[in-house]
Symmetry: C2
Subunit: 259 residues, 2 copies
Amino acid sequence: MITVLVVGIGSGSPTQLTGEAIAALNRVDVFLVADKRSDTRDLAVMRTDLCRAVITRPDYRVIEIADPARDRDATGYREAVADWHARRARAYAEVIAHELPHGGTVGFLVWGDPAFYDSTLRIVEQIRSAGMDLIVEVLPGISSIQLLAARHQMILNGVGEPIHLTTGRRLVDEFDPALGTVVVMLDADLACAALLERFPELEIAWGAQLGLADETLVRGRLGEMLDEIRQRRAAARARRGWVMDVYALRSNRVGAPLS
Amino acid sequence: MITVLVVGIGSGSPTQLTGEAIAALNRVDVFLVADKRSDTRDLAVMRTDLCRAVITRPDYRVIEIADPARDRDATGYREAVADWHARRARAYAEVIAHELPHGGTVGFLVWGDPAFYDSTLRIVEQIRSAGMDLIVEVLPGISSIQLLAARHQMILNGVGEPIHLTTGRRLVDEFDPALGTVVVMLDADLACAALLERFPELEIAWGAQLGLADETLVRGRLGEMLDEIRQRRAAARARRGWVMDVYALRSNRVGAPLS
């Protein structure tokens, strides 16, 4: 029997793991890691360092799995994606069967928390659909959303108000002050700039590389902070070859500003 | 100088604390606790057990602070609340000054994460406004939202879709399938029942006492699950004298159902 542990590792700093997550990591025989572009070597090193810092058993293995090529010429986009997902699931199932022929425990490390804008649980579901019996456990981790709020010493909701989490891609179409505090992830282009004309009163609380030594924070009126954020974002990326950032927007038309 | 540590303790289970949070708890000289109604004795015991389990220094103190009485007869509701906040802030400032006349570290324990629907950081801000200099640090904790998702092995967002966090009080006015997955907190009355007529397709993933030994989960079509949820909610409350629950709603009109 195969057990799959999907473990939220937060920012990757060992002190930000829960005891439960550390115990889970120590049960894993084989960690599966999707291979990524070369500019994330820094992330691979952080992952390796984290495992070394908290895993006491000497015999765990880390296996990289190449993502199958995606057929960009397929006539139907949906069919192409579905086919790619099926091939990826088979690739994982084959590696698991090869590495653990008599059963055992597979681990996936997830930056942040597996519940927010991460696809690992979809991959696990696809491996199941490919016919492999799996026992699954999910261990939550501290997400960048929580670190953003903690570092800015901020309650995300205004009194009795909602919190809305969305992506840079959707932000401009979706934004409405009535959504409460709007937290934006996966936004490489700072889509919020396009909101300024309609909502000049917006306040932003932004953070990048949260939980790491080079963590950086900006907070204030959106219109006054955009240049500073762009510069810090570029500098963070130049240092590590990657940048992960997240921000919260609030209109002072609803409830309290981000003070 | 006074340092204030606002520490997210998740469900209160020692294994769900981060190492960073445990280190913070060990720096605290005096924990301040708002006194609550007698039916939360069980929560007070959990808090005491947690401190005993993870704090190694023998000399920390736990001080209960009585909330000042609220003037229900005041002519203006806003003025009454503002006055009550100011009196509460003075009560905290007086206790801090009395307990730590030469400075030191004050701790607040927050169930879940201080960023989501918790007022501790507002109290800290009010103590500052009352004239006390404070250095503040916030330590995130695993929220019930994350445990809900982990236990249901669920990614909260549909592919590329938003997540909306709101309260039971706002849910019926606010609900729209376009909000994506809607996570509802602070809903003692299961306000979602009132959505069934308009949105019979809604799916729910519900959990109570998450992270505790008597944790309980329900998942399925909202219309088919409501009775079961009501029964389990009442049983959980009967056992402990309190119940904390949270749920996620998703319409299968947008993206994937909660499968």
